[in-house]
Symmetry: C2
DNA sequence: TACGGTGTATATAAACACTATACAATTTCC
DNA sequence: GGAAATTGTATAGTGTTTATATACACCGTA
């Protein structure tokens, strides 16, 4: 499972791990029922403490994306759409991301093109 | 200047303020040369400490969006496009935001529609 | 049942977010 | 020109969050 953490990214490490695994699940590289690597292995790969990864796993479980079982590993949960997040909770991060593009001076068409590009990547192994 | 902070939003208050002011600048509601409200006023409106707002202002200055002058207020800086952020720094938050939409089960067309909607709002008073 | 593999709990340290209060620079206005 | 009002800044303190080290508990299997 390929994950990297970015030193320059100001988000905490566990959050970066959460987001990357979410992307892997979204694009179908981690399918339902698949086992996630042990926390110790991910921790060793990234050079961080195992508890940092364990915290990320628990967060993913809290959001219903994986099932963590004490002693056995963690597996990708069956996908249940239309869960917790409200429309505004989804839109707010999108708005923040788009704002940065606008402030960077990119024209509308180019922004839409980039969005389409990213979305294509996320929908690849899916649906 | 209309800003609200969301208790349920896990981002720090200063970050929420930064993002909201960025959006105001992006959509042209805060034009170049316009004075921002004093930190004490914004702080009082939101019910937080003035230093929290001052920190947000300094962050906006660090990113080149406003000019803060000790004793006098803060004003919106002239827009200089294509500044610091790299392409990947722009794309990563976008990818995270889009991932949430995909995990929520929204079809591609609907996601693109929402993006267009948000982008329209951001480009309104602009250009 | 014992052992290797897995997640969990506890304790600690450092960094961060927010606050209260005092300070310093600028503007206003008499 | 100077005092008062207005503005941002610096410092110190408190609680929370992030990350770590270490020990513990659960699961599967030979």
């Amino acid at each position: 499972m390929y994950i990297v953490i970015d030193e320059n990214d100001r988000r905490p490490i566990y959050q970066q791990v959460v987001d990357e695994i979410k992307a892997l699940i979204a694009r179908g590289e981690l399918k339902e029922g698949t086992m996630l690597p042990p926390v110790r292995q991910v921790a060793a790969d990234l050079g961080v403490n195992l508890n940092t990864i364990a915290f990320a796993y628990r967060e993913l479980q809290r959001e219903g994306l994986i099932n963590v079982r004490h002693g056995a590993g963690a597996v990708v949960a069956p996908r249940v759409h239309a869960q917790g997040k409200t429309d505004d909770e989804l839109r707010k991060p999108l708005r923040a991301a788009l704002t940065q593009f606008v402030l960077a001076g990119l024209p509308r068409a180019e922004i839409m093109s980039i969005v389409g590009d990213e979305l294509r990547g996320l929908l690849k192994g899916n649906r």
